[in-house]
């Protein structure tokens, strides 16, 4: 990596007014364990940023510091220009939070719950339109406690957007969704994005990050090991195609090359026919991600989860 470049993840060429989230040297220590170990990151207004990483890597800790739920041990953080450790109610009115776990046990109906929460905000969205947007029209008069897990998750999302947030935090929003519901959810997020909402998404689903994210960052062991556009993550090298085949004696071979067709042609010429077990692979985002995590020597800090 070019050491003269600005700190990875920061956006040097735009003014503060255009930055929704600014993180510098963020640390969170639990005793001697650093759950977050020096993160620098900027997220531009209107951007959708996907935060990836294995369990216990520090994703949720980072996001909860940004949401104001946890206090940091060090570094500087600005969320919509405000330090979340001292976020006022007016600041909270400008953000929307969809927490990781849905624990809604309420006796209120979907409509009652949304109408009630809408009353906390200065400029809320229309309740019925939000219910329609999350596809719960048929359940509007059903108590939240009687909904299925996926339906409750939709209520969580609805509560996150009811206040018309400038910045929306989505912590593993589609866990428990069936494939169709996920695609509908993606459409909803795209329309929020089209409205100009800044979105910080944490997810385990790399296809989700690829579908929604303008940029993504990978956190491993409390450090941001890579940041970039989804199609640039891991660098150009990680995207070099892989050619696999078996030699005449059965030995498996594997070579990375920018010119796979040329290699295959030479193999055909050498074998005088079809090479055995031939595969040409372009690494998927998942392959690249796994490679990144592996290279970073990912040790899942389960003890961080235990402390949390």
């Amino acid at each position: 990596m070019d050491i003269t470049a600005p700190t990875p993840g920061t956006l040097p060429n735009i003014g503060d007014a255009e930055i929704a989230v600014r993180i510098r040297g963020l640390r969170k220590d639990y005793g001697s364990l650093a759950a977050v170990d020096g993160i620098d990151l900027d997220i531009a207004r209107g951007e959708t940023f996907a935060l990836l990483g294995p369990n216990g890597a520090g994703k949720s800790t980072t996001v909860e510091i940004l949401e104001g739920y946890r206090l940091r041990s060090g570094g500087e953080v600005g969320v919509l220009g405000v330090d979340p450790a001292h976020g006022s109610l007016d600041w909270k009115a400008r953000i929307g939070i969809v927490l990781q776990s849905s624990t809604e046990s309420g006796t209120a109906t979907v409509r009652e719950q949304l109408a009630h929460f809408a009353g906390f905000y200065p400029d809320p969205r229309d309740v019925d339109e939000v219910i329609a947007a999350v596809g719960l029209e048929a359940k509007a008069r059903t108590r939240v406690s009687k909904l299925s897990g996926g339906q409750r998750r939709r209520v969580d999302v609805a509560l996150g957007i009811i206040g018309r947030p400038e910045l929306l935090f989505l912590d593993e929003p589609t866990t428990g969704f069936d494939p169709e519901a996920r695609r509908e959810f993606w459409d909803l997020i795209r329309s929020l994005k089209a409205e100009g909402t800044t979105i910080l998404l944490t997810t385990h689903y790399l296809d989700e990050a690829a579908q929604l994210g303008d940029r993504a960052g990978v956190i491993v062991g409390g450090r941001l090991i890579d940041v970039g556009r989804i199609d640039e993550l891991g660098g150009a090298e990680a995207r070099v195609p892989i050619v696999r085949w078996r030699e005449a004696d059965g030995t498996p071979r594997e070579t990375r090359t920018e010119r796979p067709a040329e290699l295959v042609a030479s193999l055909v010429a050498r074998f005088g026919g079809e090479p055995a077990g031939l595969e040409v692979i372009r690494p998927s985002l998942e392959d690249i991600y796994l490679q990144l995590v592996h290279t970073a020597g990912a040790v899942a800090h389960d003890d961080e989860e235990a402390l949390a």
């Binding site: 007016d90 909270k92 624990t103 905000y121 200065p122 400029d123 089209a194 402390l307």
Partner: protein
């Protein structure tokens, strides 16, 4: 799910609506009042809460009246006018209702909200803790008034208990009730900080509430308790709520059965106000949406 374009009508790209600056956030009081409605509705949709904190005193009053109906009237001394057992226990049940609606209900309710993530969610919204407390205390007040009304209605109609007729008695009832229910609500909020989880909340709260009811003259005739027990009970607010209610509902000559042979309404006010302040201070110091540096 349709897209949110239906929400804004058109929504041109990258034009975040920033009308927010011109619009004021709804005030704490207004949101607090809306929370009272929300909390009261939730309360009546929770069968556990309704049975164990709302209906319980009514049921106990019915049981006491039926069980001791053959025991004859309670008299201050030979030759004096007696009252029925039901009439004697009515003030205690009114006091128990205040305690259950406030302390038991809120301590269990808030501990549950803390552990099921409700408070964490609310803490991420622009809801002020002040509005949250207005909602909780308001709910206790609304359901406490309904509970007292139900108790008095059942007492007067089904159980044939004569209710006071003088305005002075009802005035005393009003201030003892308002002070008692407010103190109970604040102590409930304060006590909700003790249970480590929602599941353990009933195990922590109910024994405290139950013991208080036994030593404070709710289930057992206070005048027949040993003096040391009366002295312990005098530290806590329930004894004074019950005594204040006895001053309202029992004939005046029953005051000789009280600890000092007087209704001591001054002490009722002082002790309840002291506990109100204690509840307020503890609530203010211990209440958190979440434990932030966990």
């Amino acid at each position: 799910m349709s897209t949110i374009d239906t929400i804004t009508g058109n929504a041109p790209a990258a034009a975040p609506r920033r009308a927010r600056a011109d619009r004021a956030r709804p005030g704490r009081l207004r949101v607090g009042l809306s929370r009272i409605g929300y909390e009261t509705r939730s309360y009546f949709r929770s069968p556990d809460a309704v049975f164990f904190t709302f209906l319980f005193p009514v049921i106990m009053l019915g049981i006491f009246t039926a069980a001791f109906s053959s025991a004859g009237d309670i008299q201050v001394g030979p030759g004096t006018e007696g009252i029925s057992v039901g009439a004697y226990y009515l003030p205690g049940m009114l006091a128990a209702g205040m305690l259950l609606s406030g302390v038991q209900n809120l301590a269990v309710d808030i501990a549950g909200e803390k552990s099921d993530g409700t408070l964490k969610r609310l803490g991420g919204t622009p809801l002020s803790p002040v509005s949250y407390f207005i909602g909780k205390i308001g709910q206790v007040f609304v359901t406490g008034v309904l509970q007292a009304a139900l108790l008095l209605l059942v007492a007067a109609t089904l159980l044939g208990i004569a209710l006071p007729t003088t305005p002075e008695a009802w005035l005393t009832f009003a201030w003892v009730f308002v002070l008692g229910i407010t103190t109970s609500a604040l102590l409930g909020i304060a006590l909700s900080a003790v249970p480590r989880s929602g599941k353990s909340a009933t195990a922590v709260v109910i024994p405290i509430v139950l013991v208080l009811q036994f030593i404070s003259g709710v289930y057992l005739q206070f005048s027949q308790l040993p003096e040391w027990m009366q002295n312990i009970a005098s530290i806590f607010p329930l004894k004074w709520m019950a005594q204040g209610m006895r001053a309202v509902f029992l004939p005046d000559d029953f005051k000789v059965l009280e600890q000092h042979g007087e209704w001591d309404l001054g002490m009722v006010a002082i002790v309840l106000i002291a506990w109100l302040v204690v509840g307020l201070v503890i609530s203010r110091l211990t209440f958190r949406w979440i434990r932030r540096d966990a």
